[in-house]
């Protein structure tokens, strides 16, 4: 079996938002819709202050609350763990968005453009009517994974089969791969470091592993 998973090394992340922009490019999301983004968290009081950059997005939970609540079955989970949305089924009720404890889902009802004058050429070229008024979220670039696999490539290793955020990271903070393969990048990363998962107490079994220290 295959179970895709992602590890993000918080020791590495520099908050540059390159993954945010790479995701915006690859997935052609409209302005303000960031399936992947990096948070800027401050902790402590002056002068004992720490600041941490935390990439967030869909955690592709093993037990995804968004899927359970979805009334239309638009939200599904593949055998490889990726949580998907069928834009043709989704009714845009937003229930998944309030069920997701990671604020990972977005619904856009009106077309938005980078500049007030209307769509730029690239926005026009990439507009997808199907995505209007339905829930959208990070797909772990499932199209890249599937087409990459079809070409015999290895997700997490070969860029053409790997999520854009992982490809783009300038600090090597991201690792992606098959958690069921003990030799995969992500298995080795998870095995070799100390990590947590966000909001794990909510029982979602999220599949982004946040590395914070060595083993």
């Amino acid at each position: 079996m295959t179970r895709w998973a992602m590890a993000i090394d918080l020791r590495a992340c520099v908050g540059c938002q390159t993954c945010t922009t790479a995701c915006r490019h690859t997935n052609a999301t409209p302005p303000g819709v960031q399936w992947r983004k990096v948070l800027d968290l401050e902790q402590g009081e002056f002068p004992d202050v720490k600041r941490t950059f935390v990439p967030v997005g869909c955690m592709h939970c093993a037990d995804p609350p968004c899927m359970h609540v979805c009334p239309s079955t638009a939200t599904k989970q593949r055998a490889d763990g990726i949580v998907t949305i069928d834009y043709d089924l989704c009714i845009g009720c937003g229930y998944c968005a309030v069920a997701c404890p990671y604020q990972a889902r977005h619904i856009v009802h009106e077309r938005e453009f980078a500049y007030a004058d209307g769509p730029t050429k690239s926005e026009e070229a990439r507009f997808d009517e199907k995505r209007m008024s339905v829930a959208t979220k990070c797909t772990w670039c499932v199209d890249r994974i599937d087409s990459g696999l079809a070409k015999g490539l290895k997700p997490g290793v070969d860029p053409d089969a790997t999520p854009a955020c992982v490809n783009s990271c300038i600090a090597n903070a991201y690792t992606f791969g098959d958690l069921d393969d003990p030799q995969s990048n992500v298995s080795q990363k998870v095995r070799g470091t100390t990590w947590f998962r966000m909001h794990e107490e909510l029982g979602t079994d999220p599949h982004i592993f946040y590395v914070w220290d060595e083993k």
């Binding site: 902790q43 009334p71 638009a74 404890p101 966000m198 220290d213």
Partner: protein, 298 residues
Amino acid sequence: MNRNQPASVKPWHQTNWDWRAALNFICGGTGTGLLVAAALFGGAAYPWLALVALAFVGFGLFWVWMEIGKPWRAINVFFHPHTSWMTRESIVAGPLFLAALAAAATGKGWLIVLAALLALAFLYCQGRILKASKGIPAWRAPAIVPLVIATGLTEGMGVAAAALAAAGGLADRTPIIVLVVLLVAREIAWRRYRSALAASGAPRGTLDVLGRMHRPFSVAGNWAPALLLAASLLVQSGAGGLTIIAGAAAALFGWYAKFTIVARAAFNQGFALPVLPIRGKGERVPGAKPGWQKPAGG
């Protein structure tokens, strides 16, 4: 849209369900509560009370329909009865309408009971819809379910009592006693809900909003109508007026509570780190959960 707005690390208010969704909980609760009340105490007034109740439920569903992104695909809402309480609510809605209409038309007792049971099921679904919303700490608390049910029944009974009193048909004092009991139950459910949230921890925004709501809801929404109803039992004249005021208050403050919970206190989970990364060298530093009030004793 959060276009060009800073990515918040603190919980912010959910933007997916607004007043239209709140209306579904308001009207669905009152409508189903009214159906139950009508079944219990409607008597001859049952048909028109049932029709009013259905109007409430239908009005709420209409606004939900208006809120969804793809209204012409609304039929898809029925596709996921296995786990989705929204599907289940929709599925219950059909028989509920049929049973209540049939009961109103025929006056058959078993249909009335069936309609009331379906109404309870609908109301329960509404509670579970909120509880399943894991992303909203104010909703996912299990104590939300008894609160939703208690207030739905209270609102319905309030409307029924006020309506029957207004129509001069409240010879029996039982509905008033039941309403008092429901008001007390709602107060208990409310307090349990709040203390459960405080115990589990919640976004400060949520607790602030609920904190501001507490006094008006508790005093004017629960205790005051309960006292008015108690008074109505004792006074010789004006009991009808007191009942109308109390019934209206029971309903109105229920609406206020649900509007607040759905559309004002629904801060999302936000983000949290149980521990901060060690950047090169250093000690373990406790994590951050911005915008949260820690659980009591936590």
